[in-house]
């Protein structure tokens, strides 16, 4: 199947600009399309630390969610965890999460909230699998992040 790609951001709404004060008539009502990027990881890997690129969030974007979903448990001998971070900080968004049990974690660490509101440069989102013990033969984890592209969030002036 073909894919249609826009440079974006993509907005939708029938009133593009505010030219008056009447809602539904001349007050802007456009919203921005929510974007997402995902990867799936096979947790059947040898012991050690394995890093994956999830995708690049464009600069000036607002990160909405990050999710680790364990759909098939890892049978790694001792332990297996997945974290979500960025280049140079493996657990920036979500700390080490056990993937030897089914579950879903969808959150952003407190220390990452400020940057999540606005990335000042393109940033590589990463996932890191840390495994110990006998090599797993099964396990499946998906990593997803959603964001508003280049909305350049800044303090808004209060209503007068």
């Amino acid at each position: 199947m073909g894919t249609t790609t826009f440079s974006g951001p993509i907005k939708a709404g029938i009133i593009k600009e505010t030219t008056g004060t009447t809602l539904g008539d001349n007050v802007k009502n456009t919203g921005q399309v929510v974007m997402s990027q995902s990867i799936m990881i096979s947790a059947a890997v040898a012991a050690g630390t394995t890093t994956y690129d999830v995708g690049v969030i464009p600069k000036n974007s607002q990160l909405l969610t990050t999710t680790i979903r364990v759909a098939v448990v890892s049978d790694q001998g001792t332990s297996a965890t997945v974290s979500v971070g960025k280049t140079g900080s493996a657990a920036f968004f979500i700390g080490n999460t056990n993937v030897k049990a089914l579950g879903e974690v969808s959150s952003i660490a407190n220390g990452a909230l400020d940057q999540s509101d606005r990335f000042d440069s393109d940033t590589q989102i990463t996932a890191t699998l840390i495994a110990a013990g006998t090599t797993a033969t099964t396990g499946q984890v998906s990593i997803t992040f959603t964001y508003v592209q280049a909305n350049n969030l800044r303090d808004k002036a209060a209503n007068i």
Binding site: T5, M35, S36, I39, M40, I41, S42, Q124
Partner: protein, 159 residues
């Protein structure tokens, strides 16, 4: 209001392909538009338990379900509604398995987690389009559930 329809998937991002290693310059930063479809139980819950009811929601092949959001515009009446979402081919609980919506939970919103014991098909809905169904148990005499399915179209997620 007119509707603009694309065959999709729709992606956006200023850099379509990776041709180097410099973020912001030549490393792909496209993301995929999050899609959503919604169905309502309508008045079905007034009649208590119901077998698989076909909905108008069809998820395109090879899609990834990101989330299912449960809205209750009207609270359950008389009994807990045990709510499942399946599809016409894979079974009655492919995507959501026996999610309990109590009378006490009143109206409002709920987010099933860990796929609510479904068959964990969210990561990849399979190689064919799937038409969703809902099934309920419990002697409800009223209430309404709206289910919104958020998904990435045909991203064909593989390990």
């Amino acid at each position: 209001m007119g509707t603009t329809t694309f065959s999709g998937p729709i992606k956006a991002g200023a850099i379509k392909e990776t041709t180097g290693t410099t973020l912001g310059s030549d490393v792909k930063n496209t993301g995929q538009v999050v899609m959503a479809q919604t169905f309502s139980t309508g008045t079905t819950l007034a009649g208590g338990a119901s077998a698989a009811n076909a909905t108008t929601v069809v998820i395109p092949a090879n899609s990834q379900i990101i989330d299912i959001v449960i809205d209750k515009p009207t609270a359950m009446v008389n009994a807990t509604c045990v709510f499942s979402i399946g599809d016409t081919v894979g079974g009655n609980a492919t995507f959501l398995n026996a999610f309990s919506i109590t009378v006490a939970s009143s109206f409002g919103r709920a987010y099933p987690t860990v796929e609510a014991g479904g068959t964990r098909a969210w990561a990849d809905t399979g190689t064919s389009d799937v038409k969703l169904t809902f099934t309920t148990t419990g002697a409800t005499t009223g209430g309404e559930v709206r289910a919104t399915i958020l998904y990435q179209q045909n991203n064909n997620l593989t390990a």
